[in-house]
């Protein structure tokens, strides 16, 4: 019989036991402080769980419903509104990459300013598109967070626009001044198609704390969730565009029958003994039925 040894699992329990008792001792000492920390942790866990639930219960169904959307404007609007609702953001913008290598504003919404432009709303977005490359030098334009996000094909976030040095937020600041608004946190997510080509950018403004409704930075987990939603949205957009090309072909509706090929196939079948027999029997049968009926 082999000598029983302490398995690695048992080693682990030893370590676990030591840790647990240490924690117990520390717990006794730290008392009150630990309790608030535990509460915070619990709340954190609770939030993570809600996020996971949200993902399973919202993001996946949204992705599915996006695929079923057959009107482009409604599809774009759905993408933006669902992303905004999931992230509890106050505002959002959806850009599409144009063949001229610019980012075109297709839709802008903002709850507290009660703005909705583009999408299915009657108001058109009148803002000029953002150049992805400098018109003179051809250099990539990394000045704006949205263009940088599109160029780098990576999601990017800024916690506070007014303390951020990396990007040029003069556009957002001018907007704030004009609208008496305060842009704080920004998240940009690229919409990549199956070939990893960026076809658009989803931008969300001013995330809100679910408990206090105060504007906060976009949490890393939220960023992940938006990246996933971005994937689903891009897939839906891609399939819409594919169907659209398909439809355009059919709307043109040239029903073309290759008559020669058809004749060949028909002749091949009708000349078989089986078909001839069937033809005769069918005729007899119908004649008989006719005879019965008359």
């Amino acid at each position: 019989m082999p000598i029983p040894t302490l398995s690695p699992v048992w080693n682990f329990y030893w370590a676990y036991g030591i840790c647990a008792s240490l924690l117990g001792v520390i717990g006794l000492y730290v008392g009150q402080k630990t309790r608030t920390r535990t509460m915070q942790l619990l709340r954190q866990v609770e939030r993570e769980k809600t996020r996971a639930d949200k993902f399973a219960n919202f993001v996946i169904p949204i992705g599915l419903s996006l695929t079923a959307e057959t009107n482009l404007n409604q599809l774009l609007e759905k993408i933006l509104l669902e992303a905004k609702a999931l992230s509890l953001a106050d505002g959002g913008t959806l850009y599409l990459v144009t063949p001229e290598k610019t980012l075109r504003f297709v839709m802008i919404v903002n709850d507290s300013l009660k703005i909705a432009m583009g999408g299915t709303s009657i108001k058109e977005v009148s803002l000029p598109p953002l150049n992805l490359y400098d018109a003179d030098t051809g250099a990539p334009n990394h000045k704006n967070i949205a263009t940088s996000c599109a160029l780098g094909a990576k999601s990017m976030s800024v916690d506070d626009v007014y303390t951020e040095k990396g990007f040029d937020f003069s556009g957002a600041k001018a907007f704030d001044q004009r609208m008496n608004y305060r842009t704080i946190s920004v998240l940009c997510v690229p919409l990549k198609d199956a070939q990893q080509k960026v076809i658009g950018v989803l931008q969300l403004i001013n995330a809100q704390d679910p408990d206090t409704s105060r504007v906060v930075a976009f949490a890393p987990q939220l960023r992940q969730m938006m990246e996933l939603l971005g994937l689903l949205a891009a897939a839906a957009l891609g399939s819409y565009l594919r169907i659209k090309t398909l439809t355009d072909q059919i709307v043109d509706l040239k029903i073309q029958i290759d008559e020669a090929k058809k004749e060949r196939q028909v002749t091949e079948i009708t000349e078989s003994d089986y078909f001839k027999g069937l033809q005769t029997r069918a005729r007899e049968m119908r004649a008989k039925v006719k005879g019965q009926n008359s």
């Binding site: 659209k244 059919i250 089986y274 069937l278 029997r281 069918a282 019965q292």
Partner: protein, 251 residues
């Protein structure tokens, strides 16, 4: 005299089984005595919308073909799927057992047996309507189903391959003197112009288009597990199926 209605398409996945199940149900709800035969022995499908489980099926069409039972033994009353009173509706399923499918594919069978079976079924169950759900494409058994039909419903999707294949089938059906032929365009994209589509298709084949069904989310969600005409009668797809049904039920 019972009316035999075959539902056929040149290619697979066009929506034959779904349409057959709905048309048969509408006929039963109109008080007719109805049976449905699944002649798609290679890939049976119509037991699904009628909720006929494998456990209930002792004999299938296969066993009749093998001479193991009379056809009426393989007919199951599925009227409960209608969820309301109507004429009785029977289903003769094809076996979904892999071994049975394998055997019938390997051995083949004399398709004339099918005709004998249909006639016996009409007589034994005193049917008003016999609906035949077919295998896609042109082969001996689909040609037989077409030849003996009073009404042939041909389904096609609005795409080039279906247009071409349907042209062949229409030609063959005309040579077999099928008294009533109806075209149904299925899975039309909502962005298409349905009227234009209908007009062009009628002109090309010189056969009436009884309905144009849009691609319908609810049908995808139903995933063959229910009868759209009964579950969602308000949908355009259901209303269009109703038009086909009217044409079939008209004396």
């Amino acid at each position: 005299m019972a009316k035999i209605v075959s539902i056929h398409s040149y290619r697979g996945g066009t929506g034959k089984s779904n349409l057959t199940a709905n048309l048969a149900s509408l006929a039963a709800l109109a008080g007719k005595r109805v049976a449905v035969v699944d002649t798609d022995v290679q890939s049976p499908g119509i037991h699904m919308p009628f909720g006929l489980g494998e456990d209930r099926v002792e004999f299938a069409l296969n066993h009749f073909i093998w001479g193991e039972c009379p056809i009426e033994k393989a007919a199951y009353d599925v009227s409960a799927a209608l969820g309301r009173p109507g004429g009785p509706i029977y289903l003769v399923p094809s076996s979904i057992k892999i071994s049975d499918i394998g055997r019938i594919l390997k051995e083949g069978y004399d398709v004339r047996l099918l005709n004998d079976g249909f006639q016996a079924l009409i007589e034994k169950l005193n049917l008003d309507f016999l609906f035949i759900d077919t295998h896609p494409g042109v082969n001996e058994e689909t040609l037989l189903s077409i030849a003996i039909s009073d009404t042939l419903v041909l389904i096609l999707r609005p795409d080039q391959q279906d247009f071409q294949g349907t042209a062949v089938t229409v030609e063959l059906a005309k040579k077999l003197d099928v008294p009533q032929m109806l075209l149904v365009i299925n899975k039309a994209l909502p962005s298409m112009n349905f009227d234009e589509l209908r007009a062009k298709v009628e002109k090309i084949y010189n056969v009436p288009v009884a309905a144009v069904l849009p691609l319908t989310t609810e049908l995808v969600q139903l995933a063959s597990s229910g009868l759209i005409s009964l579950v969602h009668p308000e949908l355009e797809a259901s209303r269009e199926i109703g038009k086909v049904s009217e044409k079939i039920l008209a004396p």
